[in-house]
C-alpha cells in the first residue's frame, strides 16, 4: 500500500509492449486502412454485386452501391444448380475427413509422444518424409488408383485399382491420415507432465484409458485447431475433387461453383450471389474459430 508511486512508472516504461512507433498514429492508420480497403474490397464488390440486377451488374462504370436490393438473386442462383446437394456433399466429405483424421492422428501422435517401442525413430522419419511429400507427387498415381482397372489389367498389381472414381470414398479416403496433424498433436502430447502418466499407471489405467480420460480432455484446444485446419482444407479443396468426380450426386461446392461459372456466363449478379453463399460458411467459421486458426497457423506455418 505504501509503495512509492514513482516505482511502477519507472518499471512500466521499458516494459511497454511495443516497438518504436512510426512518426504518427494517423499515418499508421492511413496505411492500415488503405491496405484493409484493398484486402476487403473484393468481398464488398462480391456482396454488393450479388444484390444488383443484371443490367446494373454489367454496367460500365460499376456502381458503388446497388440502386435497389435484389435478394431474389440468391434464390435464383440457388435454384440454377443443385446447391443443396453440393453443400450436403461438402459437409459430409469434410466431416468424415476431419473425424477420420482426428482419430488416426490422435492414436499415432500418442504412440510417438507417450510410448516406447522398437523402430520409433525409423517410423518417425517415415512420417516426416510423408509430411514433406507434396500433393503434386501423388496426384496422378492416386488418380490412377481411384479409376477402374481397364479390361485385362490386374486390379491389384502393380497398382491397386480401387474403382472409386466419382464416389465419396475417392474424396475422403486419401485424407483420413495426415502426417502434419500427427506432428501437431504429438507436440501437444509431449507437453503432458510425466506425473500424470505415473499417477494413471498407479491407478491401474492402461494407455487407452489414460488417453481417453486424461490426455484428450486437456488437449481440446489442439484438437480443435487440427479439426479447423483440416475442415478448411477439405472445404476449400478443388483440384482433387474436380479430377475424381463427374456427377452432381457427389460434387462438392467448390467444383459446383466452377461449373456454375461456366453456366452463369455474364450473369455476374448470380455468380457473385453463389460465390457469397459458398464463402459464407467458411468465413463464419473463421470469425468464430479465429483464435484456434490463428494459433494453429502461427504455430505450424501451414499455408494451405
Amino acid at each position: 500500500m505504501n509503495t512509492p508511486q514513482v516505482l511502477p512508472r519507472v518499471i512500466a516504461r521499458p516494459l511497454r509492449p511495443r516497438i518504436p512507433p512510426i512518426s504518427s498514429t494517423l499515418f499508421k492508420h492511413l496505411v492500415l486502412i488503405l491496405v484493409g480497403t484493398i484486402v476487403a474490397y473484393p468481398f464488398y464488390f462480391m456482396v454488393s454485386t450479388s444484390l444488383k440486377e443484371f443490367f446494373e451488374a454489367t454496367a460500365t462504370p460499376p456502381t458503388l452501391f446497388p440502386t435497389s436490393l435484389h435478394f431474389e438473386n440468391y434464390v435464383e442462383a440457388w435454384t440454377r444448380q443443385p446447391w443443396g446437394r453440393f453443400f450436403a456433399n461438402t459437409f459430409f466429405i469434410a466431416g468424415a475427413s476431419v473425424a477420420g483424421e482426428i482419430v488416426t492422428a490422435v492414436l499415432a501422435a500418442y504412440a510417438f509422444a507417450q510410448m516406447n517401442f522398437r523402430g520409433k525413430n525409423v517410423l518417425f522419419a517415415l512420417f516426416l518424409a510423408t509430411y514433406m511429400m507434396p500433393a503434386e507427387a501423388t496426384l496422378i498415381p492416386n488418380f490412377v488408383m481411384m479409376s477402374k482397372a481397364p479390361p485385362g489389367v490386374n486390379p491389384f498389381f502393380p497398382i491397386p485399382r480401387l474403382n472409386l472414381y466419382d464416389t465419396y470414398g475417392a474424396q475422403i479416403l486419401p485424407f483420413l491420415a495426415s502426417a502434419f496433424s500427427v506432428f501437431l498433436l504429438r507436440q501437444q502430447f509431449l507437453a503432458i507432465p510425466r506425473e500424470l502418466r505415473d499417477a494413471a499407471v498407479i491407478d491401474g489405467a492402461g494407455h487407452l484409458r489414460f488417453l481417453w480420460s486424461v490426455v484428450l480432455p486437456i488437449s481440446i484446444p489442439a484438437l480443435v485447431t487440427v479439426a479447423i485446419l483440416s475442415f478448411y482444407a477439405s472445404w476449400n479443396s478443388f483440384q482433387w475433387p474436380f479430377i475424381v468426380t463427374s456427377s452432381e450426386a457427389v460434387r462438392p461446392v467448390q467444383v459446383g461453383l466452377n461449373a456454375f461459372r461456366a453456366e452463369a456466363g455474364s450473369q455476374y449478379h448470380l455468380l457473385m450471389a453463389a460465390a457469397s453463399f459458398v464463402v459464407a460458411p467458411i468465413i463464419l467459421l473463421y470469425l468464430v474459430g479465429q483464435r484456434f486458426l490463428v494459433q494453429g497457423v502461427a504455430r505450424t506455418g501451414i499455408r494451405g
Binding site: R16, I19, P20, L32, V35, G36, I38, V39, Y41, P42, F43, F45, M46, P61, L107, A108, A111, M115, N116, F117, L123, L128, T130, M132, M133, P134, A135, T138, L139, I140, P141, V144, P150, V153, I159, L173, F180, V182, F183, Q187, W235, N236, F238, Q239, Q254, R261, Y268, L271, M272, V278, V279, I282, L293, V294, V297, R299, T300, G301, R303, G304
Partner: protein, 325 residues
C-alpha cells in the same frame, strides 16, 4: 530377479504391440495414399501410358521432356520459365508488403484486432470463390480496377486475356520499341501474381507478427539510448532478428508458387497464348486433358524434386521447423 526381468520384458512387448496398433491406422492410410503413390509416380513415368499402360520406355519420357527439341520439351521449358517469372513477380512483393503491414500492425494501435481480422479473411477464403470474384473485379469492361485506372487515363487493359508483356505494353504506350526478350511477364500473369499476393497477405503477416513478438524490447531501448533513429532500428534490429521468419516465408511462398494451380485454372486456365501456363497447369493438361499419364507423371516427378529441394533447404536452414509444430 529373473522373474522381474521377464515381467519387464513382457510389459515391453505389450507396449510395443500396443504402440504398433495405435500406429496402424495412420500408417495404413499414409502408406496407401502417400508413400506407395510416390513410388507409383516414378513407376508410371517409366512407361508410355496413354490412358492405359503401354510399353516400358525407361527414362525416355524424361528425355522427351528435358532434351528432345520437340513441342513437348519446348512446352516444359516455357512452363518452367513462366513458373520462375511468376515466383519473381510474386514472392518479393509478398514479403515486402507483408513486412511493412506487420511492422505497422505490431504497434499498439486502436482497432488493431479489427485490422487483423480483415487481413486474414482472404487467406481463409477458398481459392475458387476468391478467384471468381477477382476475375470480375479485373473484368475489362465491368470491373472496378479498370474504372479506377480509367480515371487516371489508363484504359483498355484486358488483364486475364492479355498475352502481351507488361514492359512491352509500357514501352508501346511511351512510344519506345521494347525488344522481345525484354517484353516482361504477360499482363495476365501479373494479374495472377496480384491475386496471389492478395490471397496470402494475411498468412505472411501472421508469421511476421509472431517473429516481431519474439524480439526482446530491450534491444530497441538500448539502441534508442544510443541515439538510433527509426530507420536504423528497423534496419539494424528488426530486419536481422526477423530473418528466420523472412526466410521461412520466402521458401514457403516459393513452394506455394510452384504448387499453385486453382487460382491459375480459374483466372486464366493457362492462357492467353499459354503465358500463364505454369508447370502445374502443364502437368494437368498433359495427364488430364490429353490423357498422357506417363509423360504427366514424369513431369510430376520433376516438379516434386524441385519442391522437395526447397523443402529440405528450408528444413536444413531452420533446423526442422516441424519440431515446433
Amino acid at each position: 530377479m529373473n522373474e522381474r526381468a521377464a515381467a519387464r520384458r513382457r510389459r515391453g512387448l505389450i507396449e510395443n504391440a500396443q504402440a504398433y496398433l495405435f500406429l496402424v491406422p495412420a500408417i495404413a492410410f499414409l502408406g496407401l495414399f502417400k508413400i506407395l503413390p510416390a513410388l507409383y509416380a516414378v513407376y508410371i513415368s517409366l512407361f508410355r501410358w496413354d490412358i492405359v499402360q503401354g510399353a516400358f520406355r525407361g527414362l525416355d519420357n524424361y528425355f522427351d521432356i528435358l532434351w528432345q527439341n520437340s513441342t513437348r520439351s519446348q512446352a516444359w521449358w516455357q512452363s518452367l520459365s513462366t513458373t520462375v517469372t511468376y515466383a519473381l513477380i510474386t514472392v518479393p512483393f509478398e514479403i515486402a508488403i507483408a513486412l511493412v503491414v506487420a511492422y505497422v500492425l505490431f504497434q499498439k494501435l486502436r482497432g488493431r484486432d479489427i485490422y487483423r481480422t480483415i487481413y486474414y479473411v482472404p487467406y481463409v477464403t477458398s481459392t475458387v470463390a476468391a478467384a471468381t470474384v477477382f476475375s470480375y473485379v479485373f473484368h475489362p469492361q465491368y470491373g472496378i480496377v479498370n474504372t479506377l485506372l480509367g480515371s487516371i487515363g489508363i484504359t483498355g487493359l484486358r488483364w486475364f486475356q492479355e498475352p502481351d508483356g507488361v514492359f512491352q505494353m509500357i514501352g508501346s504506350a511511351l512510344g519506345v520499341a521494347v525488344p522481345e526478350w525484354a517484353a516482361g511477364p504477360s499482363l495476365a500473369l501479373v494479374g495472377v501474381a496480384i491475386f496471389s499476393i492478395w490471397h496470402f497477405l494475411g498468412f505472411q503477416i501472421l508469421i511476421f507478427l509472431g517473429g516481431l513478438g519474439n524480439i526482446p524490447l530491450e534491444y530497441y531501448e538500448a539502441a534508442k539510448l544510443d541515439g538510433a533513429n527509426q530507420w536504423q532500428l528497423f534496419r539494424r534490429i528488426t530486419l536481422p532478428l526477423l530473418s528466420p521468419q523472412i526466410f521461412f516465408v520466402f521458401t514457403i511462398a516459393t513452394i506455394g508458387v510452384l504448387r499453385a494451380f486453382n487460382e491459375i485454372f480459374i483466372l486464366t486456365n493457362g492462357g492467353p497464348l499459354d503465358t500463364t501456363r505454369t508447370v502445374t497447369l502443364l502437368i494437368f493438361k498433359t495427364f488430364f486433358q490429353q490423357g498422357q499419364i506417363g509423360l504427366g507423371s514424369a513431369m510430376g516427378v520433376l516438379l516434386t524434386l524441385v519442391i522437395l529441394a526447397f523443402t529440405l533447404f528450408q528444413f536444413r536452414i531452420l533446423g526442422r521447423r516441424v519440431e515446433y509444430g
